[in-house]
Symmetry: C2
Subunit: 355 residues, 2 copies
Amino acid sequence: MTEWTAPGALMRREIAEQPDRWLDLLADRRAVDEAGRFTAELRAAGRLTGLVFAARGSSDHASIYGQYLAQWLLGVPAAMATPSMATVYGRHVHDPKSCLVAVSQSGASPDLLATVESARTSGSPTIAFTNDPDSPLARAADLHVPLAAGPERSVAATKTYTAELLALHLWLRAAAGEPSSLVDEEIFALAERGREVVRRSAELAPGLAERLVGAERAVLIGRAFGAATAREGALKLMETSSIAASGWSAADVKHGPLAAVTPGTPVFCFLGERAGRESVEALLPGLRARRADVTVVGVDAARPGLAGILPADVPDALLPVLSIVPLQSLALELSVRKGFDPDRPEGLTKVTHTT
Amino acid sequence: MTEWTAPGALMRREIAEQPDRWLDLLADRRAVDEAGRFTAELRAAGRLTGLVFAARGSSDHASIYGQYLAQWLLGVPAAMATPSMATVYGRHVHDPKSCLVAVSQSGASPDLLATVESARTSGSPTIAFTNDPDSPLARAADLHVPLAAGPERSVAATKTYTAELLALHLWLRAAAGEPSSLVDEEIFALAERGREVVRRSAELAPGLAERLVGAERAVLIGRAFGAATAREGALKLMETSSIAASGWSAADVKHGPLAAVTPGTPVFCFLGERAGRESVEALLPGLRARRADVTVVGVDAARPGLAGILPADVPDALLPVLSIVPLQSLALELSVRKGFDPDRPEGLTKVTHTT
């Protein structure tokens, strides 16, 4: 890339275009429907005892969402792979009745490719979700679902993350046998709501960034689906703004992370989803007692700022597509204020070559 | 507990006694051998297509070790459970041919109990590893393996963590059909080596703590087995010393965590195990270019300090029992220097009541 762009211009554009890219995913349903049929047939034939996701970074967080959604919708166990079994130990540990699902923006990570090949060696069916239909991962898997997000030029993943969430969502709803017309209605509404969340996030982020510009650390907390958002939000703050941020399931916060909340530590609590909300809420008194700088990201329209930024009428299972957006905008604004360029963060490469 | 103790006295004693507690585990092998036979029989009958671990906090890190070791020794997939499927969503998602392994010091966490009960509802065999044979978890599972660590009175888990590693190790070696006499020989040698690691750690920790006392953040990096050590070491620094520490698999470091390494950031690289070592080593030039304060924890006897603290003749699969010890000592010394009491860290309770 040789053209000159203002710091964060690419990331800003890619955050803003997300709702359009979600509609692009709907525009060509062939791959996602085929993957849905494939999975439904395995399940109907008693040949789907589980799903295993293989991913790194943001795609790993999208896979946490996929893991919860798969278990909820299909009632089969879903887990995360350990790619080093294949790459470090040379062991093929796959149940042939378990479907290996690789999720990767680039589709080029060698360790994910090795994991897909290892699963195939064991006779497991494989599906890849990538943004590049010509990538090694797309070619190696039995089925490929394109993310249809268009080229992502900022190094920090934004639109490919929400495209991954949505592609996994469409696939799993199809696998559960839900009619695509019903699902499509929900996604059209989601994109509408998404435009509003994008607009409000862009409005609120500069003020929030101003408040957080001196922060050394941050803690983000969600539960179940929201734990994926907490982890992805922390990664955005880390990679764009060099903040020592960490994202947690509310269930793990009392095991250590709470002790890292010092007076003034910014803490983001994701309270959008109904399921699991009370376990995040239960932490609020303790966080306030530690004098944390608590920001709630939620659906309470009566409250100002991020506490009311999420629409109350979006189903739990789609809310993660929206709840990450305010953190994307915040990460962008913080990065620019700190004199970094979030389009070219130090130390981050788009394709990770782990071997 | 009403007796007065100097800050950290309990933690110091519990770190020091670890090698003796490992030998206690060997002294009564009945439960671990029974669990090994049970698992071997399931496997021989084709009724073990996987293992699923359920745990929180330090026990979750011990389970990461168990996950790798199980896959390596038994060649079956092993994964981490999502307890919120049972507690938040009320879904029972267990493959009846998968064995649910709950690991918990107290054996009293309600969400782990709910996960064991959910697995039993699905017809899955269950094994619990706890330090309390009378705990609800011990009673709920088909089999119980006691950790034999004695009462842990410091709030920061040390001896129960290494007891969990070792109990999982003994169980999995038995499940793999290895003769206990051979394994016991290795553990006797491990305890001998352990005494030396405990002694050297206690010697080196005060100087290291002096150097790190002003650190806001820390990053810990390992691979495979070493990733468990990195996560557990980070938790110790968080809970005892309020440091914004995070532990990573080397495979994930380029996805964000590297950007959180600012000049002077303490970074611990675990280089003990042969398998995966090169993927940690490959990060060293980048870390040094970012002017990180890198400490290698390794087996290079020619080098001073922690770089040579680990014995070179201990097998990879037992090294995590030793490699956490220097971090336990460092966490203790840092905590005391910062004016905290690691035996009673703020915000941490011994039994976590997640619902």
